[in-house]
Structures are given as C-alpha cells and as structure tokens.
Symmetry: D2
Subunit: 284 residues, 4 copies
Amino acid sequence: MQKITLLINCPDRKGIVTTITQFILERQGNIVYLDQHVDRQEGIFFMRVESEFDQEEFSIADFEMQFIAQFVDDYQLTYQLFDAYYKPRLALFVSKYDHCLYDLLGRYASGELPVEIPLIISNHPDLEIVAKRFEIPFKHIAVTKATKAAAEAEQIAAIKEHQIDLIVLARYMQIISDEFVAQFKNKIINIHHSFLPAFIGAKPYHAAFERGVKIIGATSHYVTADLDEGPIIEQEIVRVSHVHSVQDFILKGRDLEKIVLARAIKAHVEHKVLVFGNKTVIFS
Amino acid sequence: MQKITLLINCPDRKGIVTTITQFILERQGNIVYLDQHVDRQEGIFFMRVESEFDQEEFSIADFEMQFIAQFVDDYQLTYQLFDAYYKPRLALFVSKYDHCLYDLLGRYASGELPVEIPLIISNHPDLEIVAKRFEIPFKHIAVTKATKAAAEAEQIAAIKEHQIDLIVLARYMQIISDEFVAQFKNKIINIHHSFLPAFIGAKPYHAAFERGVKIIGATSHYVTADLDEGPIIEQEIVRVSHVHSVQDFILKGRDLEKIVLARAIKAHVEHKVLVFGNKTVIFS
Amino acid sequence: MQKITLLINCPDRKGIVTTITQFILERQGNIVYLDQHVDRQEGIFFMRVESEFDQEEFSIADFEMQFIAQFVDDYQLTYQLFDAYYKPRLALFVSKYDHCLYDLLGRYASGELPVEIPLIISNHPDLEIVAKRFEIPFKHIAVTKATKAAAEAEQIAAIKEHQIDLIVLARYMQIISDEFVAQFKNKIINIHHSFLPAFIGAKPYHAAFERGVKIIGATSHYVTADLDEGPIIEQEIVRVSHVHSVQDFILKGRDLEKIVLARAIKAHVEHKVLVFGNKTVIFS
Amino acid sequence: MQKITLLINCPDRKGIVTTITQFILERQGNIVYLDQHVDRQEGIFFMRVESEFDQEEFSIADFEMQFIAQFVDDYQLTYQLFDAYYKPRLALFVSKYDHCLYDLLGRYASGELPVEIPLIISNHPDLEIVAKRFEIPFKHIAVTKATKAAAEAEQIAAIKEHQIDLIVLARYMQIISDEFVAQFKNKIINIHHSFLPAFIGAKPYHAAFERGVKIIGATSHYVTADLDEGPIIEQEIVRVSHVHSVQDFILKGRDLEKIVLARAIKAHVEHKVLVFGNKTVIFS
C-alpha cells in the first residue's frame, strides 16, 4: 500500500472539494483524512487530504503529473505532495543550551518523532557530548562576524550532503543571514522564548520580568528575513507570579520551549502545516 | 439566500465526500463549511456541511426529500438538517443558584447567543426576580417526591406550548425521570460541577476537596437515563491549591460552570455537535 | 469581632516578621492569614496580614496610630490598613460594550463580589437599560474633545459624591487624562483586550489576527499615565486557530475580558494586590 | 554560609509565627523565605521557612536539638529539617516506557534537578541502553508473582546501599507491596496517567477514550497502600477531541506525564511538599 498527503491552496470556487476528491477516487484512492478550510475574507481554499492506494502499479510520480495537468493552471492551485511513509531528515542547530536538544533526542530515541536526525550543527563544541550519547554526527562550525559567510557556506554544504528536509533551530543563538533563509523557505523552524509578538529580540524573559507579566510563553515559527516575525506554528504559556525571579522564568520557560518546539516539528513533519502569507493553517 | 447545515453519519465508504458534495453542487449549493471525520476503529464517517443557496425557488423541504431518497437507505445514513437562520428556542431549568442563569441571560441580552429564550422553569420561586429583570416568562413548578410525575407533566406541557428545541439544566437541582429524558433525547444539556467522570453525583466540590486534587473542573453533557453518564460536550478546569477551602472551590467553580455551559449551548445551537454512541463529535 | 488587613512593604531586614507579628500579638490579635515575600534583587520585604480582634474596646484608629509610631519611620515602611468588613464602593465606567457590565452586575447581584456599586458612568446612553435592570444609578456624561475637561470634572464630582473607592473601566472606550489618573493612583482598573505587552493600543484582536497568533489574551491593569503600561494584575488566554475570524477572536475574547476583569476586581477589593514600582505582588 | 529548610505543622495557636521566627532570629538566622498556611477547618498551622546562617560555628544538629526541646512537645509540633545544600539521592524505577526516563535524565544532565541519581532499577532489561547513555548504574531485577518478595528485598538492599532518599516510579508497571510502601512513607512518588480520581487503575487512556472526555490528565502522587489513592502532588491536563484515537491520547499523555512527574520531583526535593492526612500542602 502507498499513502500520500496533499496540501493544497487556491482561490475558492464552487465544487472544488467534489472535483479533487473525484480525482482521487478515479485513481482508486481511499481518502482516510480530509480537512478543508475556506478563508472567506481572502477567498482562499485550503485542503489537506491523505489517501491510500492499494494497487501495486500505483505511481506517486504519475499521480502528481496528472494532478498538475488537471489543477495547477486551471485552479491557480498551489500544492505540496508527500509520500506519507517517507521520514523527513532533520538537522538540529544548537549553541550551548541543551534542554531542547535533550528533549528532541529523547523523543527521537523513543520513536516518538517520525524523522531521521542525521546531523547536529553547533557554533560551539559544548554539546558534542550530548550528540555522542545519542550517536548522532555532530559538526562544530564556529561563527564570528568575520567568518559568518564561510560558516554558513559550510553549514549549507553539510545540509545538502545529508539531504536535510527541515532545519530546526533548537535555541541556536546566531542570527541566520537573509541569503541562508532564502534558500530554505518554510524549512527552518525556530523556537523563540516569548509569547510573540511580545518581547521580540534578545532576553525576552528579562523583559517579561521587568514588565511584570502574569503569564509567559514560547513561540515556534518559520524563520523569515524579519527576525521573530515569521509565520507562527505553535504557542504555549505558563503562569508566573511575583514569587518568581528571572531565573524562575527561564527555568519554567525551558519546559515551554521544549514542548512548543516539539509540537511544531511534529506538525511540520506530519505535513499538517500550510503557510499562506505570514500565517499558518494547522490541520488537525 | 437560504442556508442549511447538515450533520451526517454513516458507515464509511469510498467516495462518500465526493457524492455528497456533488449532490449539493447539483442543486447550486455553495459549500461554505465542510468538516469530516472518520472513526477508523468503528468504520464510521461523520460530516458537517454548511451550504448556501441563492436561487429564489430553493426549498429546504425538497432538498431534504431528495437527500433522503438518495442517501438514507443506500448509505445507512443518519442525518440532521437545519435551517441555519432559524433560532433554536431554549427553556432554562433552574433552582436556587443564580450564577449560570445570570450568565446565560447576560449573553442572551448581549446578542451573543443565536437563540430565543421564551421560558424559564424552576422548582423554587427564588429566581423569579432574575427572570423579571430580563423580561422572560418564569414558571414555578414545585417538585416533591409525591408530585414529581405531575410536575414533569406540567413541565412538558409548557415545553410543548413554547415549542422548545433545547432544555438547559442551569444548575437545576432535581433528577429528571427516565420518562422525561426519553422524550428529549440529546435535547437536554446539563452542567455538572466536576471534571467527569471524577466525582459523579452530589457535592463534587466537597469530594474534590477531600481528595486533595490540584485541579477542579466542570462538564457539560447531554442528559441520559444514567446520571452524569451522558455524552460529554465540553469540559474546562482551573487550578486549586491547599490555600483554597471548599467555599473557594465552589466560588472558582462558578466561573467554570458558566463558561462550560455557555460553550456547550453555543456548540449545540450552531449544530456543531453530533452524538454517536455515548460520545460527541464536536465540529470546529 | 473586628478584622483588619495590612499590606506592607519596606526594605528587608532581619527580624521584621517577628517584630510585626509580635506587635499584633501584643494587641491580642489573632493572625488568620500571613503571607510574605522578599524581592531579593531589590531587597524589599512585602507582607499581607489579616488579624482578628475580639476585645470590645479594640480601635482600628488606635492600632493604626501605634503602628505608624513604631514602624513607619524606623522601617521606612509603606503600609495600607483596611477594615476587612468594609465593602469598597465601585464606579463602573462603560461605553457601548455590555458584556463586562452584565458579567459584573450578575456577580454583584449573586453576592459574589464583596462591594457596593452605587454608580455607573457612561459616555453613551446605550447601556442605561442594563443599569436599570439591576437598579443601579446610571450617569450619562458625553465626552468630546472639546468637553473632555468638563466631562472629567463632572465624573470626578460624581465619584466624590458617591465616595467611590475603585473605578473600573469595563470596556470604557475613552482615554482618561493624566490629571484624572493622577487623582486616583492605583484606584483605576482597566481591562485591555490583549495579552499585554503584545498589541498595545486600539484594535488588538485585529492585530492578533493579522499576526496569526495561536493564543489570544486579556489583561487587567491599573491605569497610569502611559496607555496600557500600568501594573498588570491578571492575565488569561485562550487558544485560537486558522478557523477563527476576527469576529471569532472578539467573541472568544469577551469571556476572557469578563473573567480577567472580575478576578482583578476581586483581588483588589480583598486587598490582595500590592503595587510596587510598575509591578504587582498578588497575595494568595 | 549554611542554609536550612524547615517544614512544620502543629495545632494552630496565637503567636506561633512570632515564636518560631524569634527562635531563628535569636540564632542569628536570616529568614529568606517564609510561607505559612492555616487550615482553619482542621485548626492546623503549616509553615515552611528557609534560613541562612553566616556564623562559622553554626551547627544544624544543635539547632535541631534546641528546636525539638522548645517546640515539639509543647506545640505538639511535627517538623522536618533539611540541609538546603544537600542533594537528595534518587532511585528511578522503570519498566519499558522510556519517555519519563529520557525526560528525567535529560533534566538531570542539564543540571535542572538538584539531585543525585545513583541508581536505576527495572523489572525489564530494555532500558539499560538509556541508563548507559547517561552513565547511570542500572539494576535489572525481574519480578514475577513467585519472586516478588525476593525481588523487593533485592530492591530495598540496593536502595539502602545507595542511600536513596526518594524513589521515583517513572512508569514502573508493577504494583509495590504494602510492606515495601510502609518502609518508605512519603518517599515514593508515582506518575499516574490519568486525572485522578478519574480512571483509577490500568489502561486509563483507554477508559478516557471510551468515556469520550474532552480533557485528559496526569497525576503525580505519593504511593500509599491504596493503589492510586495517595496524596496528590501535581496534576496537569491537555485538551483532546473526537479526532484523537487512543494512540493519540497516549502520545499526548506522554508530555503530561513527563512534566507532572518532573514538577513533583522538583517540589519534593526542594522541600516544598508537606503531607498532612491524605493531602499535600505545596509551598510556592
């Protein structure tokens, strides 16, 4: 059996669900999941469909060609098509904080994440010990102002060599250049340690503490050229009070960061996230 | 323009989304909402569709007749069809607690709930003053063991007279007889002041306090013959701690009860709840 | 029996708990609640104490005089002392939105709030009907750019006449002048319909929608000269998703606003809030 | 500098805060944390105090002796006294589920938990690989009905050998005998994968799924002779819906279990938990 996941968006029009499900049905597909959403303000139709195909001779490539021929031009349709059994390959970028790294590798080792993690890249050598514990290749690429371009070239080479599908900034403390970002559109997920758009930039826990908020948060988002402004995938919060110091905020925030990042990765690799403009549609 | 909402469930089979959306399309319907869910364990297909029809001559009755003819037998399909512009008529049953009543009437007066409330029934006279403030007819029907059957007959007569679509037990402190319940299947919503199935029965806040829980909850559910065992519509929780007395639990619980009951009513009257077995599918 | 609540802050020093509790003990007080907090970064000691006095001849005024004599200068101590049985008098300021007003009046009518509400002021006549339902005096004071100073003078006169202790801006859609604010320091509570400091200013739900956040919030705070920058008392959030329109955000936000405002009022009138700098200590 | 943490409970009486803080003050202690709670229903006073002592000659043992002499009999006082700089020693009990184990060891490796973990015990050999990755001694002690008594004897020997202060059942799938439990009163923490007291016993996620709840939870508690009935330390919840299968419940529950167990351990080892009857007082 083969299984494909389709993510679609196009201008809304009558009968589109019928037509697309009919297309799958004609190819003997069994629709096991379908969710659609219409943004009525923008007039845009969004859909996620999972279909199973039992016939031996089914070819995803053929399906895709025929799908393009029938829909892409006629419906001004944008699509992504995934082999549901393929495991996306992740590169984790880290610096010195280890909590997100331990969390992701623990989940990976537990079989909780349907991915491969063939590469960890860091601008510091400190976390090599963690990578070793989980037997994952670790690449230390130092980054300074002077070497930034060369370092990013080296990072990109490693990413290509390992055929990476998704880059995860797991508390990576370097700003990625616009050129780097442009090569991996909607393929870099960052965890920001605040409830965006509150406390953009550095030291958000300190800023939250100064402001005297009663709730702190964390936000995972795709990385775009504008720092901390990319499409939000997931957010979560936890209550704080006057008894908590900045250190307590940071400590409580660790759990938020771990969970929010893990949820975002999970949604992405299960092809449940569709980016449109600067927002995301997250299918259930 | 007319607008209908369809709630459907039937054994799952290939092509069902296509066929039903095709049926609507052929009648010039514009699907403005579609959500479907397949319970793969049970092999059941669930769908909610909202469709708009612009043509003057469109008849909901005709649509329904044709829908029945094409689907009900052939697909072993159960359906509910609603005129989306009709406002369901609610009867509120209360006793002495007034917080849910104030909350619902405030929402009603604010235009937040797309309903009519032509009737409040109580086994005590105390809350007549609240009904009067909001200019809603109030019927005091005392209930004792001896008079229960007669009282329920009187309640049912009032419900029929006012063409009630949904009965809301807004902290009504009487157990409804099985005969009463049987007449209004999935048409009676209760608010239970605990996180069901924990603390079934009377005095759940006291029981929660005794157990030393760190979170309390409230649950709205359809009323069935089994006390507190009906299909759950909505639940919500709030944290408590050792500093809180039973009275604090009760006070904190009031807000839970109000919100959980209001959400359940809203979901029901917007036709987003589909009961299957002893569970609910809640469409978004 | 008499009961007093003390809120204290001063530079931290050894033995302060002992000394203050000793002071109460010597006056035959029974401490029924004590919570203290030390801000170790700033070196400030905070305490809330509730004490009961059984003796007939106990005088709060005498207690206060002696307390001042012993502590204020020597400890550079700032204090607030309340008769715990006195019910604070509230003025509600509203405009056209009625949900917070209905919520607060419902709670008031239910006996949930230990306050008196002798006055509702609005810059629009629309909500007089709500005030009438609950039999609360309603004062319509129109506000235009030209009449603002006169209108505020009229508001202040009404506030003084009714001996108001706390002003609640229950979705009052006018900016209060600095002169007004200066007269009621830490005595004006506002509800802002966002998770501050995100989305300061007007139309926060629209801004949140545009940003594509996954969680929206509401914030109650004391009003200071800086718009939406005052000390935060309480915040709460609710999840949203791509299926929700701006209208859905607004509707979901209503429940947040009601609860967050009610919690803030409750904390204030129970003397559980101590403002220090631009932050609050909220005792349990 | 030395630092001690005192946990106290006794029948409430006038002046107790004064007397105890005076006692500390007389020994030149600097109180850096004090929280007290009076259970007015039971008439019990609870307090947690952290005090620092600068003088070289300060002896915790002497302090304790004097404290006993002054308070224990006279006040019918129960106390626990801890050297705040001592790191409690944990034994983790596991079976085959690895998520809580990875989570705890990740936190431990990150320096997030102020403990030592010198021992992992399992009734299965499967997780030895995890223990090895983190270089923690792993002891496989098989348990069958026939060998249970012997196995527990072996466990207890290992616990004593490693001077264990706290036993953590991190999804350990064996019931502990009453005899075992009796030896470690309030020293065994379990994580139960439901929102207790809902779904006591085996397969709670399946039971929750069958009941159609909208929220699932996890509960950490001290282990007592009554299964799943011990004093609750912490609970947390997450929302579920009809789209989630039992497998989804289990997967979502993993994150709950990890967080709830970690929070409970943290509270315990920081001496913030006081057990009284079958409930806990959790200081902030």
